[in-house]
């Protein structure tokens, strides 16, 4: 039985636990991969080109998200500016929106208004602007959280020595490591998403895998390609992870609570406001493209469209919420286990990050189909669990575990070794320590993990399509099943309802997080 002190000391249990969790989360995918592992992983040239294209896109998304999100998020942690709360919520909305909707929005906007000109969006650029929205959200929020950890006295010291510029430089330095990591994960996330590539005629690895799944029905080829994609992503990220593992770990996961004291400083606040306005405009444009049909629709059609949208939303609300909450809870729990096992070891934290890269690079269909096969092979009495709504939550939780893992690694590193050691000296049981001290201290990180994973899970279509119990789709899936031939006003109304629900959820979570941080 583990004691408080064991949580602070090296032990075989750490590697065993990380290995067990890694095996658990990888098993559904490995069930599929084992069919495809015989054969040439690189395959023909066309696949190699698609892989190269995807990696280039991932790098572009990571780079663009980092360059824009790093200064914005860091500045947002320091300065009060007009409509700060609203702008931050709007910046985070793309996390809830499937990239396909953003791609369609850009396409529709270009079609209706001629802006941007059609040719500008073809290929790489169209994919980049579709993906960068959610990458930017992830990176900005990470920079915000990291820079918020700078204690007040450090801020004052920086101001005294070099004014606002020195303070901003300090904030940028503090948030560099975690933000770079978030940007890397944002780039990796694009690898398994075929949608923008399909819309903007950009050949991608994810598109090639989709063809293998959906056009050729060749699961062996698809699994081989998925394995190659994941290994390529891991190989390219590993040097970065290894080279900065110690530094990343120490900086990323430094011990400090969130500092929410903000100042209004004229030029800095104004610049930050302008920056956020530019970013949210970038995000709002495709949203406007999606809702264009509403502006042209006659009022009777409009009313009917919203009535249909609300009906669909209310039919799917409980299940959507259930899937999201289950995914968030499972992810947060597993991430907590990983964080506890990794502890303060840079090597083990690096291993968790490597696992995260691998999981994110795998197309969502792979583990989902693995779970579907597993459920089919299981006896009927297991159906309420293996074929129930719970399994959808499980699959979604496993899919987005990397996001929770990053947050919980940071949260765990914010605990002090002394807490554990004093508890050991006083003979406090692990249960009492966890209940009274550890979990309350980790609560903000846990809540953020549940929220972020829940939001990402709510926008997932592939996993839900492949696993949801008949008759229990999510709202996001419903949008995609009607959008082919439903009246455009209905689809637009559904997007508006979805966006409003997402915004309300983000606002509620932000409020709760603020309340938690104050206590």
């Amino acid at each position: 039985m583990l004691s408080c002190l064991d949580l602070e000391q090296p032990g075989r249990w750490r590697v065993l636990l990380i290995g067990s969790v890694a095996l658990l989360v990888s098993t559904p995918t490995l069930l599929l991969f084992r069919r495809g592992m015989q054969g040439d992983l690189l395959g023909e040239l066309a696949w190699g080109n698609a892989l190269e294209s995807s990696l280039g896109l991932a790098a572009g998304v990571a780079g663009a998200s980092f360059l824009l999100g790093w200064p914005l998020g860091s500045a947002a942690a320091l300065y009060r500016f007009p409509a700060r709360g609203l702008l931050l919520i709007m910046t985070s909305l793309p996390l809830l929106m499937p990239s396909l909707l953003l791609a369609l929005g850009w396409s529709a906007l270009s079609l209706a208004t001629g802006l941007p000109p059609r040719g500008w969006l073809d290929g790489y650029v169209g994919c980049l602007v579709s993906f960068v929205a959610s990458g930017l959200a992830l990176v900005t929020l990470t920079a915000l959280a990291a820079a918020s950890a700078i204690p007040e006295n450090q801020r004052e010291a920086a101001r005294l020595f070099g004014g606002e510029r020195a303070l901003l430089r300090n904030a940028l330095r503090s948030s560099l490591a975690p933000t770079a990591l978030a940007a890397l994960l944002a780039g990796i996330l694009t690898l398994s998403d075929p949608a923008p590539g399909q819309i903007f005629s950009q050949r991608t690895a994810a598109g090639a895998i989709l063809e293998s799944f959906a056009a050729r029905n060749d699961l062996v080829l698809a699994s081989r390609q998925s394995a190659a994609l994941a290994l390529a992503a891991l190989s390219l990220s590993l040097p970065l992870l290894l080279a900065s593992a110690r530094g990343l770990a120490l900086l990323t996961f430094a011990r400090s609570p969130l500092n929410t004291s903000l100042r209004s400083v004229a030029p800095a606040s104004a610049t930050t406001t302008i920056g956020f306005l530019c970013v949210t405009t970038l995000l709002m444009l495709p949203a406007a493209g999606l809702t264009l049909p509403l502006w042209h629709a006659p009022s009777t059609s409009l009313a009917g469209a919203f009535e249909a949208a609300f009906a669909r939303a209310s039919d799917t609300a409980l299940d959507s919420l259930g899937y999201a909450l289950a995914a968030g809870a499972l992810s947060a729990g597993l991430a907590l286990a990983l964080a506890a096992a990794a502890g303060r070891s840079a090597r083990l934290q690096g291993a968790v990050l490597a696992l995260s890269v691998f999981l994110l690079a795998i197309p969502a269909a792979a583990p989902a189909l693995g779970l579907a096969s597993l459920a089919a092979a299981a006896p009927p009495w297991a159906d309420p669990v293996l074929r129930g709504a719970l399994m959808v939550g499980v699959a979604l939780g496993l899919r987005f575990l990397p996001v929770a893992a990053l947050l919980m690694l940071r949260a765990w590193s914010s605990t002090a070794p002394g807490w554990f050691e004093v508890a050991a000296l006083h003979g406090i049981s692990l249960r009492a320590f966890a209940g009274s001290i550890l979990l309350p201290a980790l609560a903000p990180g846990l809540l953020l993990s549940v929220a972020l994973v829940g939001l990402l899970a709510a926008s997932d279509v592939v996993t839900v399509l492949l696993l949801h119990p008949p008759g229990r789709p999510s709202l996001a899936l419903s949008i995609f099943t009607v959008m082919a031939n439903a009246p455009e006003a209905t689809v637009a109304a559904l997007c508006v309802v979805y966006g409003a629900a997402a915004g309300a959820l983000v606002a509620a979570i932000a409020g709760r997080a603020r309340a938690l941080n104050r206590t």
């Binding site: 819309i199 005629s201 799944f213 089919a376 309350p440 399509l465 938690l516």
Partner: protein
């Protein structure tokens, strides 16, 4: 102890209990589970009508547009050992043919199939065809003075850079591509696809996208399905429809196809639902719906603007042979063509 940050224990326990109940509870009562690749907007009213008439719950599992996800077909394949679905209702016969080849369907000769032409069904009774769509040419009425009459007209210089079609690796476009290879022969079909690219033709992600772009005037002409074209018509878009090649190879008709799943959990309910789908009443409803599908039962009334299958000069198609041809093309010529088309489109 002082209150720690976080919800009180009771609220957490209640929330966990609610969540568990939500996630583990399943619906009870008589039911039939229908996986369908037919657009949800068309399939759902039919399912609701069946529920009302029989009191049996129809748990509909619709698919997304083919390019947006891996699709239900893969779910059916993954569940093969112990299926959840009773019935697969497909918008075209190709997907069902794949399932039949993999042993996922079982034979069923519905009594309602008696009135349906056998040419649209599987000779071994793994699936039955009904209510067809057609592959049509659509054009923007203000941009095209002389309408096209054949798919080969897309190679005409007057449509240079103005023609579009959906990715031929997916959905009904893939079936149409295979049909062209069978009808025209390999050489002429390749000439068509190569000529399309050389004439600046654009490959789009889906039939819906073809409809949107032609309706917006971004493309002058395109190939899509009749249900897509009808949706644009109902929205008042300036889009016209041509049933191509009346005097040539004919218009490709794409019937819906329904199959009973092998090992279905509710096989009798599945059979009743199939019987219902194949009835003239459902064909009439699908004809009246926005799908504007052509009944295959002779004598079923159709609204204005919806032709009957018998009135068209339809392409002669051997659907099982078409499925085999599609397999060959998907891993060969069409895959290569799609890659080049994507490059050319940038």
């Amino acid at each position: 102890m002082s209150p720690a940050p976080g919800p009180p224990r009771l609220r957490v326990v209640c929330a966990a209990a609610w969540l568990s109940a939500l996630l583990v509870c399943t619906k009870s009562g008589e039911r039939v589970v229908v996986y369908t690749s037919v657009d949800d907007i068309f399939a759902r009213p039919i399912a609701e009508r069946y529920e009302k008439a029989t009191g049996v719950s129809v748990l509909l599992v619709p698919d997304t547009e083919e390019t947006k996800s891996t699709g239900l077909l893969n779910r059916l394949i993954a569940e093969q050992a112990r299926p959840q679905a009773d019935v697969f209702w497909s918008g075209d016969p190709m997907r069902v043919a794949v399932l039949a080849r993999k042993g996922i369907t079982q034979t069923y000769r519905s009594p309602e199939a008696k009135g349906l032409p056998s040419a649209y069904s599987d000779p071994d009774a793994h699936w039955t065809g009904f209510s067809a769509r057609a592959r049509v040419l659509v054009y923007h009425r203000e941009r095209v003075a002389t309408p096209p009459t054949s798919v080969l007209d897309l190679l005409d210089p007057r449509f240079r850079g103005q023609a579009c079609l959906a990715n031929p690796l997916f959905g009904t476009t893939s079936m149409h591509a295979a049909a062209l290879f069978v009808a025209l022969g390999d050489e002429r079909a390749r000439a068509f696809f190569e000529g399309f690219l050389q004439n600046g033709g654009r490959m789009l992600s889906s039939n819906g996208e073809v409809r949107r772009r032609v309706a917006a005037g971004d493309c002058a002409v395109g190939i899509t399905d009749t249900d897509d074209a009808n949706v644009a018509r109902l929205e008042g878009r300036p889009l016209e429809v041509v049933y191509p090649d009346r005097d040539g190879i004919g218009t490709l008709l794409i019937p819906n196809a329904v199959a009973l799943i092998a090992g279905a959990p509710h096989p009798e309910q599945g059979k009743r639902f199939i019987d219902f789908l194949l009835s003239p009443e459902v064909e009439a409803e699908l004809a009246r719906s926005e799908a504007a599908q052509m009944p295959l039962h002779p004598g079923v009334a159709v609204p204005n603007g919806v032709p009957t299958a018998q009135s068209l000069s339809s392409m002669r198609v051997d659907y099982p042979a078409l499925a085999a041809k599609l397999d060959e093309l998907s891993t060969g010529y069409l895959a290569n063509w799609a890659e080049r088309a994507a490059q050319a489109g940038k």
